[in-house]
Structure formats: C-alpha cells, structure tokens
C-alpha cells in the first residue's frame, strides 16, 4: 500500500511534467460516504455508499490527452502504480 502510494506520486509527477495533468486525488473510504437524494420534497440522506459492492471508486485523475490511445496508455501506467483498475471516460464537453 505504501509502495502503491509512492508509485502513484511518481506517476502524478510525471503527468505534471509531461503536461497531461489537470487534477487528481484519492477519496476517503466508501464506508464514510453519504448518499443524498434531493429529488423529493425533502432531501433524503443515507449513510454509506450508493452501491454496496466489492469494488468502489478509490480516487480519480482528470487528465488532458489528445486521444483515447494516449489516455489508455496513461491509464495503464496509473493502474500499475496505484494497484487498481482504472476506468477511462471522456468528458462529454471538453
């Protein structure tokens, strides 16, 4: 875990040096999440994550890449550094 964080720091530094970096951070554990449903008259608060599952979002990177091929290569490196899978999605309107 310690090594994963160190490797992720190195990877993040590289993203910044090479100009891909926009923002990145890790998230606190999913167990500390609060789900808010504001669609009704009164907001409903629920303790715990939106979806109970073995896999949850541990953090995210926002990067700027010219195309998916570049994004996928960076994602593979990030995944290797943080010891987790990375889902790649493009912003709808960049």
């Amino acid at each position: 875990m310690k090594q994963a964080m160190a490797d992720t720091d190195v990877f993040n530094q590289r993203l910044q040096d090479e100009g891909y970096w926009v923002f990145a951070d890790g998230l606190t554990p999913a167990t500390t999440a609060t789900v808010v449903d504001g669609q009704g008259a009164e907001p409903v608060l629920t303790d715990g994550p939106y979806l109970e599952s073995k896999e949850y979002l541990g953090g995210f990177w926002i990067i700027e890449a010219p195309n998916l091929d570049v994004a996928l290569r960076l994602a593979a490196e990030g995944s290797n550094a943080c010891r987790g899978k990375v889902e790649v999605r493009a912003f709808a309107n960049e």
Partner: protein
Amino acid sequence: VRLPVEEVGAETIARVHREEWARVVAVLTRRFGDLDIAEEMAAEAFAIAVERWPTDGVPPNPGAWITTTANRRAIDRLRRESRRDDKQKQAQMLYDDTTPPLGAIEDDRLQLIFICCHPALAMEARIALTLRMVGGLTVPEIAHAFLVQEATIGQRITRAKAKIKAANIPYRVPSAEDLPGRTSGVLAVLFLIFNEGYLTSDPQKEAVRSDLTLEAIRLTRLLQALLPTDGEVAGLLALMLLTEARRPARISASGELVTLDEQDRGAWDAALIAEGHWSESGLPRSPQVRDTRPLPDPGGHQRSAYLRQRRSRQAGPGRLPRLPRDRADLLRRLGRSAAARAAYEKAIELAGNTAEIAYLARRRDQLGPN
C-alpha cells in the same frame, strides 16, 4: 470513354463495390472525421450508381466517381444540418484543416481497419464494424452470416461508432511501439471471421460458410497489401489460403467432415496452395518463427487441421490431447474402446458443426462392443 450500356450489369457494380468500398469510406472518414457520415454517404453513392450507370454507362474511373458523389452528398447534408444546428461548428467541420497531417504512405484504409479493430471495442463490435466499414457487407448480410438478429448487429455497429466518437478513438495508424500489438488485434478479428466460416458453430447452418472464409481472405489480402513486410499478416494469410484450398475436399458428399489424411488431394485448390506457400515464404527465416507465432485462438473452436496435425505430431508419448475429439481418436487407436466412446460422446456434445458431428458419430459407431 464510357462503357456501352449493355455491359453495365449488377456484376460490374458489385465488383466496383467490392474493390472501392473500403477506400471510399476511408477517404470520407478522414475528410469528415465521422464514420456515420462516411458509411451513409458511401452507401448512398453506390445506390445512385445502381440507378445511373445502366443508362449513363460506367464512368472511366468508377472509384473516383463514387468518392466524388459521396463527398458532394456529405457536404450537402452537412449544409442542411448546419441550418438547423450550430452553424459555425458545422462550417468548421467542412473547412477544418487542423487534423494532423498524414504520412503519404499511410493508406486511409489502414487507418480505417485499425479504428474498426480498436482494442477498446468489444470483440463482437470489432467484427461487425470491420465487416460493415471495411468489407462493405450490409447489416442484413452480417446478421445472416452470424445468424444474429439484424437489430442486434445494427445496434453493435451504432454503439461502436458512438463510442469511437465519444471516447475520441483516433483515426490513425498506431505508433511504431503499439503497431505489433494492434496488428495482432486486427488479425484476431480477421481470424475469427475466417473461423466462423471455416467451421461454423451453429448446427442449423451449412458446415462451411465460404462467404465468410472468402471475405476474411479478402480482408487479410488487403491488410497484407497495406503492411507488406509484416510476417504475422503474411503468416495468417498463408494459413487461411492453405486452409481454404482444402475446402472442396473437407466435406464429403454425405455432409461429413473429412479429416486431413482421408481427403482427396486432387480436389485441393492448387492455385490457392501456391499462393499460400508464396505468402508463407515471406516470413522471416528464423526457424522458430512459425511455431512461436501467437495465433489468435477463438474460444473452444477448432483450429485448422494444418496446425492440429503439427501439434499432434509434437505431442509426446503418454500425454493425452486436451480436445475431446483428438483424445477420442487417440484412445481409439490405443484400443481403449470404452474411453474412446466416452470421449466421442463428449466431443459430439461440444461440437456445433453438422459435418463435424457426422464425422464423430461415425467414428463412435465404428467402435466395437466394449
């Protein structure tokens, strides 16, 4: 100079379609940066050709005529849409020259193949997209070939195109470092198309679908022409040609699969064999190359007899083959009838192909009482 009217038949248009479709779609894709527009306008241009050529005659350069017609249609459509839509954005699309300059040697069709076989797309989507965009098969044709609903194929293609656009999958030949991996990915798609034709997995279908094997060969030939120094591509083409050459001898008159050693060699296609060997000879000379070549292995399907024979020759004593069919044959030769029978039963259970089932059933029935 235009050809006389009577010579313009459906056949001419079909031939131009076969030869020019991929190029037209590829050129339009680069020009407009949109697979949807490219596909629809190419199809429209061919529809116009079907209408006009029989009366006007075939233009001297049919491919250029189709491209120009499709190009005009695309611009008309974008103009129409720009009235409704964001005018500026559409206008920019027409005159945008900011797309990266392409190397002269990079054929548009190669980029089209790579985008259709992109690893970020599901394998089923890659197959459908490649057959549609590069092969020029219609959605009903693809659906028929794979015995899948037309709507399903249509949806796969639509979804794939939407993902390419939304995820910004680039329209280009992969970088040198990615090229070998990506080429293997393309070969996997072509091999799966070939294999579905070679030994269709559906018991309701005829045993060998030459439309699919021939289409796979056509696409692999195209890839080979575009990547002439790639040994993997030449190797797969050789494998396909040598396999296809034996097609006339592979199924008996009674619809049963004929194994390699029992085939009538006189029925093999000598021209394809010659071309296959020629293609194979283009491989690097290292003796290791052929055996270590990572051939894509579609799940559960049989590989060609060519590989099978080599593998069984290599199998050491005392080790039984893993495939039930090979296992059954070996057990039969060893005289272990009961075990052979069980293995044949298992193989029949797993086989989807009618000719293969007929072959296995005969072998099983040839076994004496246990």
